[in-house]
Symmetry: C2
Subunit: 449 residues, 2 copies
């Protein structure tokens, strides 16, 4: 296949067995070998590659950092993995309009570092922010800890340059803050997981970086009380910037991992307010008061930046701590309406017990986005099967509760078999959309639909 | 045509000449007679109507209150006007999840009145809020005075039930606060101006109603200083809830209309902060300080609710005051990046002079959305032609400045001939989308594309 791409520098065309292997997986347990890896450095190269792929009917799988938790970048039909990490220039910071224009391979944390000197930031804050690319975030409508206040990636995309499946390039969006001019094409591409086109340029609307923070950790001896406290905080309009939950399984893992003791609680909330003045402290006090009203057993308030760091550390350690337990973590992201949070928490416990699978749960309680994490060993077939059955039940439960299969990770391979349960009659329209944009089906085939 | 719709109550099928005339126009100068007006009361009726229209190849034009400023509801190909104002039930207020589910004919102000007792509100605040329907707002992605802080209608739509062009019904969206599950179908329908389907149920995410307000009016002797003040206020992160501008033409008209004198200023800003505590006052002070820095000649701060009302009155009177001048107002809504606001203001002056058309400008300065209002008499052909040439230049200028043809009114008939200038290569995709959803072209034909 190499000879097709002679126009690219040789070192950006990868075909050795170890390279092929490296690009065969993401952060899930799914694996499949690509035929070739191409690392373009410009829109023009992407266009040429897509044209060849279209002519040769080769699948193209766009890929950022490969941190996906849905199997999205796994090339299940072989073909080309399009590694976009070399396209990593920040092209323009337009301070006056609060817009930044960049290539898809820019790293999330790197972007925010670059924006710092302007007092701006791009808030969605995915857990993989240190390494994930903005292109991947747009493709998956990613978000994370701060979505409860700041929304998800789609709330920030104001312009896209997209290479479509036949090699046509379109530029969509505007620099204006709002528009009612024709169909909202940006919305179609955000969250499309590489199945509708390749992003070569992204314009994000960024916002003022908050200057003031107030942070606390609140423990509950009963999970349900924590769930109720979350609901109260949200419906009181306190606009927390962060409202995270960790269950007792996660806490015990973190305890062992960090050597830091936690009191005997069933759930721990991490609550942070942010803003531009002292109001943040008042709002935190109100939040804590609401927690006490629901029977909080423990309240630790950060008195300094260092103390804030300490409170954050335990939350950030959740995933690595759990990863020590078992070789395979299946990190789910079912998301339910806030009112259904306590029900979903209970369902997770019930489903884990029923199938004999250990499930630790943490996540973004404030927006109903939980990460029930199934701890298994994928080499143990029986265990894996049990886990898959448990997952299936988690999905059904979330849909039953009027929630969604994925809050922030996307559908990819992982939930493809279930998407029809959520979207029912609308599936035909999704398939129609795919057909218009990718009539030959070469763009990341086998994902979402 | 009446006999086709025998399943509907007779009084909800309108065919008399005066009724036909009544439904031949919106708030623009465009006019065209429909064949029949149908006023369904349920999804089932809408489905039956659409199926008949599809079978008989009859155009269907969905219509709310007819307040459109783009010609959107004008039935230029005749056929059926589908008056949805009888479908006006608020079906559910889900306080805990801050969601409200309603039929498309609910009036904007009525919805907010109903939400008041729960401390909630739906913020986009279009100028026609007293009479316009939520369905029309969703169809046009409408907004208004509060969009600068709260965004536009699309930021609030979390679920839709849509009757597609062959009579199929789809339900899209989720009750969860975020989702990365498949293509964002809601985004396709919001702002589609009735060209892709008929909404029969809408679920909106609503938010906490602010309790504290701080309002001021600031006058500038030079338009450019006002433009700069707006840019400063926005980029300082003060998050004004309202940041309106009125030019000297508008002010003189309001003066005569209200019998209230204004000092000699070239531009007046209305600035309002809102929130949940005293912080609003501090932010207003900061805003005023920034205005003084740009040479504000006049500052009036509201000391009470009554004084706030007085400040608001002049802004609210802009349109009726201007309407007294001339029989025909052409209210434009070109929108530019904030940084281009002073340039656009200058261009409006230049273009008006060049074509000998009186243009008064007011609008939502804070998000770059201006309403240059052309004062003409549509019975005077020459005057109308001049105005149309001036409008064309306004459109070109906005696009040149990387803005958009419409910030909140939609494309409809009014800007259909220009949309290609804004979206260029993306037009084909818009046409493809239309084709998938409405293969026979019966849904509001001749609009947008």
């Amino acid at each position: 296949m190499r000879e097709l791409f002679g126009f690219m520098d040789e070192e950006r065309v990868l075909t050795s067995p170890e390279e092929i292997l490296t690009y065969s997986y993401d952060a899930t347990r799914h694996r499949s070998l690509p035929g070739i890896i191409l690392r373009p450095v410009s829109k023009e190269e992407v266009v040429d590659i897509v044209k060849i792929a279209s002519r040769e009917a080769l699948p193209i799988v766009p890929r950022g950092a490969g941190t996906s938790l849905s199997g999205g970048p796994v090339p299940i039909k072989g073909g080309i993995v399009l590694d976009l990490t070399l396209m990593d220039r920040i092209k323009e910071v337009d301070v006056e309009n609060s817009l930044v224009t960049l290539e898809p391979g820019v790293i999330y944390d790197g972007l925010n570092k670059a924006l710092e000197e302007y007092g701006l930031f791009f808030p969605p804050d995915p857990g993989s922010g240190k390494v994930c690319t903005v292109g991947g975030m747009v493709a998956n409508n990613s978000s994370g800890l701060r979505a409860v206040k700041y929304g998800t990636t789609k709330d920030y995309v104001s312009g896209l340059e997209v290479v479509l499946s036949m090699g046509e390039v379109i530029k969509i969006g505007t620099k204006a803050r709002k528009s009612s001019s024709g169909y909202d094409l940006i919305g179609i591409f955000v969250g499309s997981e590489g199945t509708l086109g390749v992003f070569t340029e992204i314009t994000l609307r960024v916002i003022q970086r908050p200057t003031d923070f107030a942070t606390a950790r609140v423990g509950f001896t009963r999970m349900e009380d924590a769930g109720r406290a979350v609901r109260k905080i949200i419906s009181a309009g306190l606009r927390p910037a962060v409202l995270e939950i960790m269950d007792t399984h996660t806490l015990r893992a973190v305890e062992r991992y960090m050597g830091q003791g936690f009191p005997e609680v069933e759930a721990l909330l991490l609550l942070e307010m942010d803003g531009f003045d002292d109001g943040v402290k008042k709002r935190l006090k109100k939040g804590i008061r609401l927690c006490r009203g629901e029977g909080a057993a423990l309240v630790e308030e950060a008195k300094s930046g260092e103390e804030r760091e300490i409170l954050w550390k335990a939350r950030k350690a959740s995933l690595p701590a759990l990863a020590r337990y078992k070789p395979t973590l299946i990190l789910e992201d079912v998301t339910v309406p806030i009112s259904a949070l306590p029900k979903m928490m209970r369902a997770i416990g019930r489903i884990g017990k029923k199938h004999g699978v250990e499930i630790a749960t943490f996540g973004h309680a404030g927006d109903g986005n939980l990460h029930p994490t199934l701890l298994v060993d994928r080499r143990n077939k029986e265990e894996l099967q049990k886990a898959e059955r448990a997952m299936e039940e988690l999905f059904l439960e979330a849909i039953e509760l009027r929630g969604t299969l994925s809050g922030e990770h996307g559908i990819g391979l992982e939930k493809k078999d279930f998407i029809g349960l959520e979207h029912r009659d609308a599936m035909e329209l999704m398939r129609g959309l795919k057909k218009v944009l990718d009539p030959e089906g070469i763009m990341n085939p086998g994902k979402i639909l």
